[in-house]
């Protein structure tokens, strides 16, 4: 036991001490945070003030346009020539045709193309005003229209759990996020296990090692040590990214968002949604997502996440370790890698399908079969639609399978690491299983 601790420690510390680990751990969150912050910042950043000339010969708009932070409107009832606009201090000219009430079309001329955000702000403001004009024209009470125009909200309920909105889709999305995370982790670090095994074989140190420890100890030590590296890296990533994003948005986005704009109840909720989106305010979907987050059974989901995560990682990394032991060089891994990675990729697709159609037979089977269950079952657990017996069966199968694969991998491993200069076939691997210790 002491020896396996030593192996785990070496696998962990040599990787964590590498400059590449430090760089990856710090650089990745910095890049992500910088990317997110810059994107949000740029989308809100409007460098110039826009002076919009609205040419309203039909006098439909009137003086009802409200200036906003960066956009100011000037309404003129006389026609403007292009050259006059060019010579004017206005940056944008909008021509409101007299036929506007039928065509719903305005012409937008610019000197320099404004951002999409500004375009939307102008379009919204015009649309609102035109809508009012139309209502007046049709003699409809704007308040009555506001009541009529309300969009339909469809709330979903699970008949078995009446009394609360189910939000299954949103929860499934969260589950998929966990599954995807698992997929990335298992793949990244599983391949590191394979490389580590190959390194020991290529270095020719492996025979020295196994004269002191059992091959199985060496393999498990490596698998666990590398898992710890991944764990530490992810914890650091989350911590650093959260800190940076919070700090970054606090610094850059302070006072960027003026709630008054939103509070100014526009006519349609679509507009509201769009405005909210621009300003980074939670729209309907975001609100649902937040509600879904609250609805998820976190102790169960996190517990299952940990379980499937460890189970899936052990299963795949042991197989990858066996592959690493059987080959002499990276290029030889291809033929063995494909069948191992295929189920994982398949699992990701199924998990994606499970978000939209959780009841399908394929999702059910894939959440039971151990090679795909860690990723697919996460979606179902977050959704809360996996019966206890299915969950139990899936877990049992996973445990049974990873015990079997680590055992099989151990047998291939102890023969493979001592086999040099031999192109190995599947048949050969099979034969190694039956060699006596």
């Amino acid at each position: 036991m002491n020896k396996i601790k030593l192996i785990i420690w070496r696998e962990f510390i040599t990787r964590v001490r590498k400059p590449s680990f430090l760089i990856m751990t710090i650089l990745a969150p910095v890049l992500i945070a910088a990317g997110v912050t810059v994107m949000v910042y740029l989308s809100l950043q409007e460098s110039d003030d826009h002076r919009v000339l609205v040419v309203d010969e039909a006098q439909i708009i009137g003086g009802r346009l409200r200036d906003s932070d960066k956009v100011s409107y000037y309404v003129d009832n006389r026609p403007w020539s292009d050259s006059a606009f060019k010579a004017s201090p206005y940056t944008i000219m909008v021509e409101v045709n007299e036929d506007i009430l039928n065509t719903n079309t305005v012409l937008f001329f610019y000197k320099e193309l404004p951002s999409v955000t500004v375009q939307k702000v102008i379009a919204n403001e015009l649309e609102k005003t035109i809508e009012l004009a139309k209502l007046k024209d049709e003699q409809i009470d704007p308040e009555a229209y506001g009541r009529v125009r309300k969009p339909l909200v469809m709330k979903l309920f699970d008949i078995a759990k009446l009394g609360e909105e189910s939000l299954e889709q949103e929860r499934a999305g969260i589950g998929f996020f966990f599954g995807y995370f698992m997929f990335i982790f298992i793949f990244m670090y599983g391949v590191q296990v394979m490389r580590g095994v190959m390194e020991e074989k290529q270095n020719r140190i492996v025979e020295v090692l196994i004269s002191s420890v059992k091959p199985f100890q060496l393999m498990m030590g490596k698998i666990i040590g590398i898992a710890l590296v991944g764990f530490v890296q992810f914890v650091l990533w989350i911590a650093i990214t959260t800190t940076l994003v919070t700090a970054g948005s606090a610094l850059l986005l302070k006072d960027r968002f003026d709630p008054a704009v939103i509070a100014n109840t526009p006519m349609t909720t679509e507009v509201q949604g769009q405005l909210a989106e621009q300003a980074g305010m939670p729209d309907m979907e975001d609100v649902k997502f937040l509600q879904a987050l609250k609805k998820i059974d976190w102790p169960l989901t996190l517990g299952m996440f940990l379980f499937y995560f460890i189970g899936g990682y052990l299963l795949y990394s042991s197989l990858l370790a066996a592959i690493g032991s059987a080959v002499d060089s990276e290029t030889d891994t291809q033929q063995f890698m494909f069948p191992v990675t295929l189920p994982m990729v398949f699992a990701i697709f199924t998990a994606q399908a499970a978000v939209y159609n959780p009841g399908s037979a394929m999702v059910l089977w894939c959440s039971l079969i151990p090679f795909t269950s860690p990723i697919v079952m996460m979606v179902r657990v977050a959704m809360g639609n996996a019966p206890v017996w299915q969950l139990a069966l899936s877990m049992l199968l996973l445990v049974g399978t990873f015990v079997a694969t680590t055992w099989l991998a151990g047998r291939i491993y102890r023969t493979g690491i001592l086999m040099y200069g031999k192109k190995v076939s599947w048949k050969e691997l099979g034969r190694w299983l039956f060699y006596k210790g």
Binding site: T14, V208, L209, I210, Y420, Y435
Partner: protein, 313 residues
Amino acid sequence: MLHLEGITKRYGSHTALDGITMDVPSGQVFGLLGPNGAGKTTLIRIITRITGPDEGTVTLDGHPMGPEDVVRMGYLPEERGLYKKMKVGEQALYLAQLKGLPKGEATKRLKAWFERWEMSSWWNKKVEELSKGMAQKVQFITTVLHEPKLLILDEPFSGFDPINAELIRTEILRLRDAGVTVMLSTHSMASVEELCDNIGLIDRSRLMLHGNVREIRRQYGTNTYRIEYKGTRVAFANALSFTGELVDVQEGGEYAVAKVKLGKGVSLNDVLRQVIGAVEVHGVQEEVPRMHDIFIRVVGEKEPTAVTPGMTE
């Protein structure tokens, strides 16, 4: 000390070792000889418990060998290496700890060895910065650091320059004198004659020759003696008469050298008595065959006859 009984190992249809029974006496150097592919490495891996035999037992100091015995052994494999990116000192410590040495004790011993072999400055270097010979020295130290009672060296001299090979040779003899049992496999017959007290020769999975080096060499001797004398060839031949066969005579120097194969039931004294009156005998030496010749005779003479089924794999 180490006793192997009927060790047999098969890989599928291929028999790697076929009923090997032999003794490796304590406190001596034992040479494990044989051509490539004969099964030496497999036998060594069975002794070091890296793999298990299909049949047969390994006994160490009178008890069947168990997992706890690995810390009493030091093994330098033929395919040996180190982690390239790890620092020398750190790596040596790691390997020592895997052999069960506490960290403090391992550090102390390592420092002493590094000082003795004048390599203290390597401690913080990465292995990839070392030359092959330097790395081999580090490997040798990590093999013996935990003071094993049984030291197994597979081709210990390959990859060493003559100076370092000599260093290792001296070290092997020093360890032997300190009571360590050394088993080494080598293709260098000169080092066998120089270092080994006993040998086992394996060819095509079978033990062909086993025992004390001096006895084996005598056994393979042809009862031939080199006699240096002053006198004529004719006089020597006549005096020899029927006591022995004159194989060869070299003249030209101050002394002539005759190779004489003794006749049946004739002792060296009989021969000397015959010739001593005719020529002036200057020196006598037995012609002992070299291990090299014995190796070729044993391995070569089987060549045409037996190709064990399954050997083609």
